[in-house]
């Protein structure tokens, strides 16, 4: 059965979804549109840092999109079906990519049949494609209401600034109490103590710090017991540094002050970032080297897509991380991209003294899996670590950072694995979760690669070995 507009109307969850889908019908929104074996797929730049990947099975209208929407099918899936049904866009024939194969292998049964209980429930007005053609009433600009809105925004900003400062004062008091009772004592009741202050900081609109403190107990408990108290000093000391930097932002370099605001919780929307003419932009070929996913206490999943620059852009950051937040309830555990994907795109970095976080501004070409070796700098593990120390001096609350290495070995001491530089004798402990998956690397000799260092453990992400490529799974 092929896709028809009637079928799309039947699948659409509501009229609004169809109207949103219509806006995505422009081929320029879709750097990739391809087809093979009864499947069509594409990539669509949405509001997230990572473009969404959409696939539709023409036979049964089964679909999958990497966006975090709770509507099924989402507007991206509907748009792809629509473009296919009305033949308005050209779909190139291409081999089925790995991410589509992954979806196919996991899927069981047809998803096209409407749920019976929905049919039995109260009848809803059926969404109609024809209705989406009604032009929206043109918004008339009213200068007075614009002024009122701007004034309200400014008032909200000032109120929030005050609330944040009040929250930081409360945090100082709380932290003084913890220091009086000692860090050994803090670790024992970290969950309750952090939860309380995190909730208070959420109330005072310092969500960034609240998030750090809320997830602190989890981070501490992944570490061995004896090092937890000293790790608590490191973590709480960083939060205090951020709070001080925020208060004294005017005395700091502009970029460091921006880092402090971001760390406290002032977010920058995609639109604001893209309209910032001074934001750092890098148009290059990138390689996805790691996709990290972590459930947060606020019921969002943080998905980080780490990309390593493959083409020359002297003086520009070699690495970018795209961060998306997806509701845990959607079940999505990964972003749209797979490790190994090659992306030709312009990337815009958030202002920072160590630019890492970015958004894809323009996708020059759809992502493709590539078997090419990763282009890595000729730096040893020890030299990369020295760079890290330099970056830490610039941004004292620096979080996870990628480190590359050449000719290092994975070595074992008991159950703990290390990445070891034989020449300098320097080594970093691998993340305990990799004790099994990275074990085969202990028998393959020297490797080149890249990993993520969080100050405690090194998560090996990618290794070029004599047995081929190894990637974190």
């Amino acid at each position: 059965m092929s896709l028809t507009l009637e079928r799309i109307e039947a699948l659409a969850p509501d009229q609004a979804s169809l109207a949103s889908a219509r806006k995505l019908l422009k081929p320029c929104s879709w750097p990739t549109l391809a087809q093979a074996e009864g499947l069509v797929w594409g990539e669509c730049q949405g509001s997230g840092a990572t473009p969404y990947r959409v696939v539709v099975n023409e036979a049964d209208a089964g679909y999958k999109c990497t966006c975090p929407s709770r509507k099924f099918p989402c507007k991206h899936s509907l748009a792809l079906m629509w473009m296919r049904a009305d033949k308005s866009s050209a779909f190139v024939s291409a081999p089925v990519p790995e991410w589509v194969k992954d979806w196919l292998s996991r899927r069981r049964g047809s998803s096209s049949a409407p749920a019976k209980n929905e049919e039995d429930a109260q009848p809803k007005p059926r969404p109609s494609i024809r209705l989406t053609e009604i032009p929206e009433a043109a918004a008339t600009a009213d200068p007075k209401s614009e002024q009122r809105a701007a004034a309200a925004r400014e008032r909200n900003r000032v109120e929030r600034e005050e609330a944040v400062l009040a929250g930081l004062d409360e945090f100082d008091t709380w932290l003084s109490d913890q220091a009086q009772h000692g860090m050994a004592n803090f670790v024992a009741q970290a969950a309750q103590a952090c939860r309380t202050i995190a909730q208070r900081l959420v109330d005072t609109k310092a969500q960034g710090l609240a998030g750090r403190l809320d997830s602190l107990p989890t981070r501490l408990f992944t570490l061995p017991g004896p090092v937890r108290p000293s790790a608590a000093i490191r973590e709480l000391g960083q939060v205090y540094l951020i709070s001080q930097a925020y208060r004294r932002a005017s005395e700091l370099p502009e970029l460091l002050a921006a880092d402090a605001r971001l760390a406290v919780g002032w977010s920058i929307t995609r639109e604001a970032l893209l309209s910032d003419s001074e934001a750092l932009r890098v148009n290059a070929k990138w390689r996805v080297v790691a996709v990290m996913s972590e459930a947060q206490p606020d019921r969002l999943r943080r998905v980080e897509t780490w990309m390593w620059r493959q083409s020359d852009s002297d003086g520009m950051p070699p690495c970018a991380v795209l961060i998306d937040f997806v509701p845990i309830s959607t079940g999505a555990a990964t972003g749209g991209y797979l490790v190994g994907d090659q992306i030709d795109a312009e990337v815009t970095f958030y202002r920072s003294s160590i630019p890492l976080r970015a958004q894809i501004t323009t996708l020059n070409k759809g992502a493709e899996q590539s078997s090419e070796q990763l282009a890595l700098p000729t730096r040893s593990l020890s030299a990369s670590y020295t760079d890290y120390e330099g970056a830490l001096a610039q941004l004292p609350w620096l979080g996870t950072i990628p480190l590359t290495f050449r000719s290092a070995n994975v070595r074992r001491n008991g159950e703990q694995l290390y990445i070891h530089d034989d020449e300098s004798g320097f080594s970093l402990p691998l993340h305990t979760s990799q004790a099994t998956h990275a074990l085969p690397l202990a028998s393959v000799g020297p490797i080149d690669g890249i990993g993520l260092w969080n100050g405690y453990e090194f998560t090996l992400a990618w290794a070029e070995t004599q047995l081929g490529r190894w990637v974190r799974s």
Binding site: G38, N57, A59, D60, G62, K101, D102, L104, S105, R106, R107, R108, G109, S110, L175, S176, A179, Q180, H181, G182, M183, A184, N185, P229, S230, I233, R234, E235, L236, G237, Q238, Y240, L241, Q244, S371, Y385, L392, P396, R411, R412, N413, G414, Q416, Y418, H420, G425, F426, S427, L428, P429, T436, H437, L439, P440, A442, S443, G455, L467, G468, W470
Partner: protein
């Protein structure tokens, strides 16, 4: 203040609490309104962040494993991992993959071993030394073995190979020269584990003769009870232990009579104990007749083995017993005669709980399968557990003749719809290479969501054939 001083003077205060262990006086807050504790906390935290991680004094030296098998082609790695880690997949694709990897002397990529850990543990012996080392990695060193897997075994290296290959090798040697094979077994007997002793001893069933008797007599004092029991069973078959109790128990239940008007023929009938109800009869038969051979039984009635089968031709329970004994004796020629009188031998054997074909080689297992499936012709059963049992017990792909019947009978179309997924996986797993194309064609008639796993399995198996040493 330097790092050493921070560690010596400040860290203890922060750990114990400044109320208990005051900060040293040398700490002067920058802000006169502050007590300086939080600044010191922050400074200490940053100092700790700049401390380089410590490197252990020594690392473990990883063993060098010589694995001569070819690593699976890169293009097949991801599909293999995807298939073996997919949810709700039956055990059949795993068995088919392990078999094919072993047959083609391929091995999974070492980097994939952690991803398919459960598969590797279940099939370690078939996947080569690297995989076996992986599966044994958490065992104490004393329980591990040397990881050696040469392409060809001979007397000099057979003891170092994996147990399954050693069993196959010894089995073959028994066929070529029973005494020499036994001598070979005797030469390493002292170093074998209980499991190895049991499995290797099973090979003596092939061409068992009185020359094995002295060796078997020694084994009656073996440390492992199941080795002692197996040796005693063999001795009983050889008649070395006087009248076999197992044979006596069987004869007690067989009623002999004469039938025929002109030419009187011996007719044998098995009388089941009164307390053995219908459903338990097959199990009782398996238990009772496991330890006797066809030759012993025939001799007891002064008949040839073929005559024994003929005289039991009207008694289903006794025919089942003979089918089980023929299987255990590896007498497929006689099994064929039994099945001619007992077309439902397959179902009866399933009922009996038979769970092993002993030391049968792959070709024999395929032949055995062909014999018990043959009577059904195109009316093949559509009962899943019968086929599941057949695959499990033979652990081999189906003979071409059986698969041809399956495909010509359009068995796929007769399967209950809700069972299609498991059936298709099973039929794909047992399909020999020569019939895969036809199977693909028949699978194409079904919904893609049902056939995704079977088609992926076919792709991998076909890919392996191309990738293998002869591909």
């Amino acid at each position: 203040m330097n790092r050493t001083m921070l560690h010596a003077k400040v860290l203890p205060s922060l750990l114990a609490g400044t109320s208990r262990h005051a900060l040293p006086e040398l700490v002067r807050p920058a802000n006169p309104n502050s007590d300086g504790v939080l600044e010191v906390l922050s400074l200490m935290g940053q100092a700790l962040r700049f401390e380089r991680p410590t490197t252990p004094d020594s690392f473990i030296v990883e063993p060098e494993i010589k694995d001569e098998r070819k690593i699976l082609a890169g293009s097949l790695r991801r599909p293999l991992v995807r298939l073996l880690t997919a949810k709700n997949v039956t055990e059949h694709p795993g068995h088919a993959l392990a078999r094919t990897l072993e047959r083609l002397r391929l091995r999974p990529h070492p980097f994939d071993l952690p991803l398919i850990d459960a598969f590797v543990r279940s099939n370690a012996e078939r996947l080569g030394p690297t995989a076996q080392h992986w599966a044994d990695r958490q065992k104490p060193e004393a329980e591990t073995q040397s990881y050696f897997d040469p392409e060809l075994l001979d007397e000099s290296n057979w003891a170092q190979a994996t147990l399954s290959r050693r069993v196959t090798y010894l089995e073959q040697r028994r066929r070529d020269g029973a005494d020499a094979a036994r001598t070979l077994l005797e030469s390493t007997w002292g170093q074998e584990s209980a499991e190895a002793r049991f499995r290797l001893l099973q090979t003596l069933q092939t061409a068992l003769s009185t020359t094995d008797q002295p060796f078997l007599s020694v084994l009656e004092k073996d440390r492992a009870p199941r080795v002692r029991a197996l040796a005693a069973r063999f001795l009983a078959r050889l008649g070395a232990a006087g009248e076999s109790p197992a044979l006596h128990a069987c004869l007690e239940r067989i009623k002999q009579s004469k039938s025929g008007l002109n030419r009187k023929r011996t007719a044998l009938q098995l009388e089941l104990p009164a307390n053995v109800k219908d459903q338990a009869a097959s199990r009782w038969i398996l238990q009772t007749f496991t330890d006797v051979s066809l030759r012993e039984l025939a001799s007891a009635f002064h008949l040839k083995e073929e005559e024994l089968i003929e005289s039991a031709s009207n008694d289903e329970p006794f025919l089942l017993a003979l089918a089980l004994i023929a299987t255990s004796d590896l007498r497929l020629d006689l099994l064929e005669l039994v099945v001619a009188h007992l077309p439902s031998a397959w179902e009866k054997m399933v009922e009996s709980g038979l769970d092993t074909l002993g030391t049968m080689g792959e070709l024999e297992r395929q032949r055995w399968q062909e014999i018990i499936v043959h009577p059904y012709r195109k009316d093949l059963p559509t009962i899943y557990h019968l086929w599941q049992w057949l695959h499990r017990i033979t652990d081999a792909q189906a003979p071409v003749a059986v698969m041809s019947t399956v495909l010509h009978a359009k068995l796929l179309k007769k399967i209950p719809e809700h069972e299609c997924v498991v059936w298709f996986e099973l039929l794909t797993a047992i399909c020999p290479p020569a019939r895969r194309h036809e199977l693909r064609q028949q699978l194409a008639d079904f919904d893609q969501s049902i056939t995704a796993t079977p088609l992926a399995l076919l792709d991998i198996l076909d890919g392996m054939e191309i990738d293998g040493p002869h591909g």
